[in-house]
């Protein structure tokens, strides 16, 4: 950022840097797949009359799904309609604030990229260095897990959030420094 960057320009810079993709929870596809109605092999002729009828069916089906969701959300008895009620218990990451979910994806990408680089260069590191890095990463991961678990139960806690972010950043910094120790192959 230069001295003469206006607040508007700075906001534009920050916005442009936001990730456009965030990987959804890994168990989402199975939930979607379970709701996909089998499609007829016959090609449907989409006339306005058909469209209206299909729209009506779609609304009715959606209403049925939503009603079923409201009534049967916490039950495990078979549905009256041939769709599977959605599991309403949020998975662990969904208890985190949305902005942290986005941040964690960014951290995961950085960590993954650094790990790949480190793996490529690992043979040029001394065993004692490898041991130090491994030990330190175990400590960092343990702290991240603990902070994360606490935040899932108290997602509005800013102190916890800042501690979790700091733990992630120390881990990434450690990985970065470890990759820089080894000469490029």
């Amino acid at each position: 950022m230069t001295e003469h960057t206006s607040p508007d320009d700075r906001l534009n810079e920050l916005t442009a840097a936001l990730p456009r993709e965030v990987a959804p929870p890994p168990d989402l596809w199975p939930a979607i797949r379970a709701e996909l109605a089998p499609r007829s092999a016959r090609t449907i002729q989409w006339t306005p009359r058909w469209r209206l009828a299909a729209a009506g069916l779609l609304v009715a089906a959606s209403s049925s799904i939503l009603t079923l969701f409201a009534v049967r959300a916490r039950e495990h008895t078979p549905a009256a309609v041939a769709v599977t009620p959605r599991d309403t218990a949020p998975v662990a990451e969904e208890r985190l604030p949305a902005h942290l979910v986005v941040a964690e994806r960014a951290y995961a990408r950085s960590i993954d990229a650094l790990w790949r680089t480190l793996d490529e260069r690992r043979d040029s590191l001394a065993p004692s260095t490898v041991a130090t890095v491994e030990r330190s990463l175990r400590i960092a991961d343990s702290a991240i897990a603990e902070a994360r678990s606490a935040l899932e139960h108290d997602p509005a806690n800013r102190v916890l959030e800042d501690l979790l972010v700091s733990n992630y950043e120390r881990k990434i910094d450690l990985l970065r420094r470890a990759t820089e120790l080894a000469p490029r192959t």
Partner: protein, 288 residues
């Protein structure tokens, strides 16, 4: 300014050989040194020359550059020893103009730097780093060696993984470790951020007017000594640990659902601000 140039000597000393090379340089010369040796000393002096001297094991690869016709602004020096034993036997002393900028990367060397007022960027894996004096800019990174800064750099960033960190203050200070301890005492500070995951933090630096201090751990205890004459604002919070205030009469309050504690204290106008955070490390405030 006299040009001093001495060719590298190939005289063997038992299984070692001496090295000695000198260059005429500008006062703000930039020196990049890759040294796979046991010890490296960097010493600032008042001459416009860089002199590299020491001993390395036979079979070491040494590239100390070639003296040029006039003072040089940048030098790149390379010393690599063939075995771990040879590394330990190697030792270099590098004399540089005080205002020089030094970038040093080494494996397991113990590095000492003194009397450099320019810039120091020291990267060590297994060895220790000790800096005497107050460079304008200092970056010191070690994995498991200790880092000791005996001076007050204007700008300083120190990082270790397991090595302990000892520092005496400065203007803009940052220190971060995973499991090492951080001991900050004996000087004054303006802006400082100290972070450790499991290591303890001990802080007893004087605060400059309007100082900004942040300390954070996951499980390491934080022990802070503060002056009562110019009291800073204090904002301390833990997630599950206790806070003990032996510095003033205000008692910390319990956190939500009885877990953790928090303590907020107003300070004098120019006393500065101290923010302390820990997940489960005890925070203790004491008077200086």
């Amino acid at each position: 300014m006299a040009l001093v140039a001495v060719a590298a000597s190939a005289t063997s000393l038992h299984a070692q050989r001496k090295v000695h090379t000198a260059y005429a340089v500008t006062p703000d010369v930039s020196v990049r040194l890759f040294a796979s040796v046991g010890t490296v000393q960097v010493i600032g002096w008042d001459k416009d020359s860089v002199v590299v001297s020491g001993v390395v094991a036979q079979g070491s690869q040494v590239s100390l550059g070639t003296p040029g016709a006039g003072p040089t602004r940048g030098l790149k020096l390379f010393v690599e020893s063939p075995t771990e034993k040879a590394v330990r036997e190697g030792s270099l002393t590098v004399r540089v103009p005080r205002g020089a900028r030094i970038w040093l990367k080494t494996g397991s060397a113990d590095v000492t730097a003194s009397e450099v007022t320019g810039g120091l960027d020291l990267n060590v894996v297994g060895g220790s780093i000790t800096v005497h004096g107050s460079p304008r800019e200092l970056r010191a990174e070690s994995m498991d060696g200790a880092v000791t800064i005996d001076g007050s750099p204007s700008w300083m960033r120190v990082k270790t993984a397991t090595g302990d960190i000892a520092l005496r203050g400065g203007e803009d200070v940052g220190a971060s470790t995973i499991s090492g301890t951080i001991d900050a005492r004996g000087g004054e500070v303006e802006r400082v951020k100290l972070e450790s995951t499991t290591g303890a933090i001990h802080f007893a630096l004087a605060l400059a007017r309007g100082a900004s201090v942040e300390m954070e751990t996951h499980s390491g205890p934080i022990d802070v000594q503060l002056s009562r004459k110019s009291p800073p604002e204090v904002d301390a919070a833990t997630v599950t640990a206790t806070i003990e205030n032996m510095w003033s009469k205000t008692q910390p309050t319990a956190g939500r659902e009885g877990r953790g504690m928090s303590l907020e204290l107003g300070g004098g106008q120019m006393g500065g601000r101290v923010v302390l955070r820990s997940f489960k490390g005890k925070i203790t405030l004491r008077g200086m």
